[in-house]
């Protein structure tokens, strides 16, 4: 007969638990690295299958055989495939994604230049999505079957069914062409565009922050009028997703016993819903928000084309049409990496915030 010993609460965490936590972090890092290698392998294969001769693309059609061989050697294309892949991975790890054929600059540098514009757009869109999506989802969950629930469902379904580029065009037609409430395509009006190059120092690459830092409030207002429509269009999709998930999490939470207890105690209903239940719903919602943020990167390719927004999406499509494969593949790797990173981030955050997650 062994006597049960009470767990010692005062002592710090047993080492086995720290080890387990370390192991978990290590496995996440390892998985991230493996996925990164996989991403590079896929783009490497795509890059080798492409019918464009990378050597000719660099030296032009009229080079001599000797020049061709020299360029081929310089690009490392005479080495065996596995070695080429090794070099590719090694370079990518050092931030070298090759040179763009179109701009003649390193792809990584190009992407660093255009990425803030996409980030700015996606961030504002996500903020719209959160501000509209969470209250809509909560309202729908507290009154299931009511007209408000139906409306939220309908708005969400429409978001899943509309092509983002079409919604963008319709937005331009209505709010820019007919009503004149917002600025048109691009990040600024043509007048401000020239002033911007001259007078605003590039600090973050995000136009709202940079113009504010430079104290150019006229330009700032113009930039706001330009970003509001594309961000609203993307935000609509993020809202559709967030409201749907909020509703289902909230429905689940509201059927828990602690909610009944709180109601029986006589706690006001708004407090039960917006404080007690919502607090617990926020944990899984973090994952949802991170996912929707990642999805916006994808939506940005088409949105940026419609709105002539000089971000990563437009960079990739432009590169595509000039057969600039290093730029296309470099952009693909970066988007994939951000995608994976956000997924991992939400996963880790989820585990940190929710003690129940094991």
């Amino acid at each position: 007969m062994t006597r049960m010993t009470a767990p010692d609460i005062s002592s710090p965490r047993p080492p086995s638990q720290i080890a387990r936590r370390f192991k978990r972090v290590a496995s996440v890092v390892l998985a991230l690295f493996a996925t990164f290698l996989g991403l590079l392998l896929v783009t490497f294969i795509i890059g080798r299958v492409v019918p464009i001769d990378p050597v000719l693309a660099v030296i032009g059609e009229r080079a001599s055989q000797a020049q061709y061989e020299a360029a081929r050697e310089a690009l490392g294309l005479d080495k065996p495939m596995w070695q080429q892949f090794g070099i590719y991975v090694w370079n990518a790890l050092q931030g070298d994604l090759g040179q763009s054929l179109l701009t003649r600059r390193p792809v990584a540098e190009d992407i660093a230049r255009v990425f803030p514009a996409t980030l700015e757009l996606a961030t504002i869109a996500t903020i719209f999505g959160i501000l509209a999506g969470i209250p809509a989802g909560v309202l729908a969950a507290t009154r299931p079957g009511s007209w408000i629930d139906q409306l939220v469902r309908l708005i969400g379904l429409m978001g899943y069914s509309m092509p983002v580029f079409w919604l963008g065009l319709m937005g331009l037609l209505l709010f820019y062409g007919m009503l004149g409430w917002v600025g048109g395509p691009g990040r600024l009006d043509a007048v401000h565009e020239m002033m911007f190059e001259l007078e605003v120092r590039r600090v973050t690459g995000m136009i709202l922050i940079d113009t504010a830092l430079a104290g150019q409030w006229e330009m700032f207002r113009n930039a706001v009028s330009h970003i509001i429509l594309p961000a609203g269009v993307l935000g609509y999709y993020s809202m559709a997703y967030i409201s749907r998930m909020t509703r289902s999490f909230m429905m689940n939470e509201l059927s828990q016993e602690y909610i009944t207890t709180a109601r029986v105690k006589g706690m006001p209903e708004w407090r039960v819903v917006w404080v007690h239940a919502l607090k617990n719903v926020m944990v899984p919602l973090i994952t949802v928000i991170a996912l929707s943020y990642a999805n916006l990167l994808e939506g940005s390719v088409l949105t940026e084309t419609v709105f002539a927004w000089p971000g990563l999406g437009l960079y990739i499509t432009n590169a595509l049409f000039s057969a600039d494969m290093p730029a296309v593949l470099g952009g693909t790797v970066v988007v994939g990496l951000v995608f994976v990173g956000l997924n991992m981030f939400s996963d880790v955050l989820y585990r940190l915030v929710d003690p129940r997650a094991k």
Partner: protein, 301 residues
């Protein structure tokens, strides 16, 4: 009719076919109670009819140009939705475009789920390192945003409708593999599989004949729910000029050609977008309805 429904509702069916049809009938009854799902089914059926009878539904030829009639607004000169920059009737082009959309949807729906199911069931049934390797590959494909990977693939393969289908199929199989693997894991150790094994069936036979059918219903639900996504991706590729090539009538491409006239001739870009919207909505509603019928776990929601 009464005898037929009685036969379908027979609590002790005399044959396997009768039992199956009876189950289908009950499913249909449940499905019919859901007005949104019925609306979705109606839209999809109308799309099928429109595509099948395109030559009779469309009043004009979708490709022949008629420059005298260019950019006519809707409801004028016998053009229900107006004409585009080459004087082609937009309604007729939308009707013929439904064939292109269906072609893409059907090809993707036939290839990607089958491939995904194969990967998923093999991974789930075999377990061990086979499972590890196959699932890592699946994860890598899941790590790419669909449209971007499809873009990169089309950039390599060259623009065109077949390549767009290939690119979409190559980017959309991983979720099916995940679903099929999860289903396989739940049935792998069940008694009926053990019974088949004892009868001497090999792994190929077990996977194809006894595991895959169990995954079918959840995969079918996913396929219907994904159809809208496939339509949107295809339209996106078309919009960027990487899908179907002119003069073929494809909805995404039609929107992109209407961009130039957006502020003066709004209908050129608006009408095909409405078609995409309605059809995707139809598939979404149908998918939701099917999920409620086929998947009892979510029926109450």
């Amino acid at each position: 009719m009464t005898t037929l429904t009685e036969w379908l509702r027979d609590p002790s069916p005399s044959s396997r076919a009768q039992a199956r049809l009876g189950q289908l009938w009950l499913g249909w009854l449940r499905f019919r109670r859901n007005p949104m799902a019925m609306l979705g089914a109606t839209i999809v059926v109308l799309l099928l009819l429109m595509a099948a009878f395109a030559p009779w539904v469309a009043p004009y030829d979708p490709i022949t140009q008629n420059l005298a009639e260019r950019l006519k607004p809707p409801m004028t000169g016998g053009h229900l939705m107006g004409t585009d920059e080459f004087g082609r009737d937009i309604f007729s082009r939308i009707v013929w475009g439904s064939r292109v959309t269906l072609y893409i949807v059907v090809l993707v729906a036939v290839t990607a789920p089958v491939f995904g199911m194969l990967i998923g069931t093999v991974a789930g049934y075999a377990g061990g390192w086979v499972d590890q390797v196959l699932m890592r590959i699946t994860d890598i494909f899941l790590a790419f945003p669909k449209l971007i990977l499809a873009l990169a693939l089309v950039a390599v393969l060259g623009p065109g409708i077949e390549n767009a289908v290939l690119a979409i199929a190559l980017t959309s199989w991983p979720p099916y593999a995940r679903v099929a693997r999860a289903e396989t894991l739940t049935v792998r150790n069940s008694d009926y599989i053990a019974a088949v094994q004892l009868q001497g069936a090999g792994p190929v036979r077990i996977i194809l004949g006894h595991v895959m059918p169990m995954c079918l219903s959840s995969v079918i639900i996913r396929v219907t729910l994904d159809m809208a996504g496939v339509i949107l991706t295809a339209a996106g590729l078309g919009f960027l000029g990487l899908g179907a090539q002119p003069p073929m009538a494809e909805w995404g491409m039609m929107i992109s050609s209407g961009r130039k006239f957006l502020f003066e001739q709004w209908w050129v870009a608006t009408m095909p977008g409405l078609a995409i919207f309605i059809v995707s909505l139809g598939f979404n509603l149908l998918g939701d309805g099917l999920r409620d019928v086929l998947d009892p776990r979510s029926a109450g929601k």
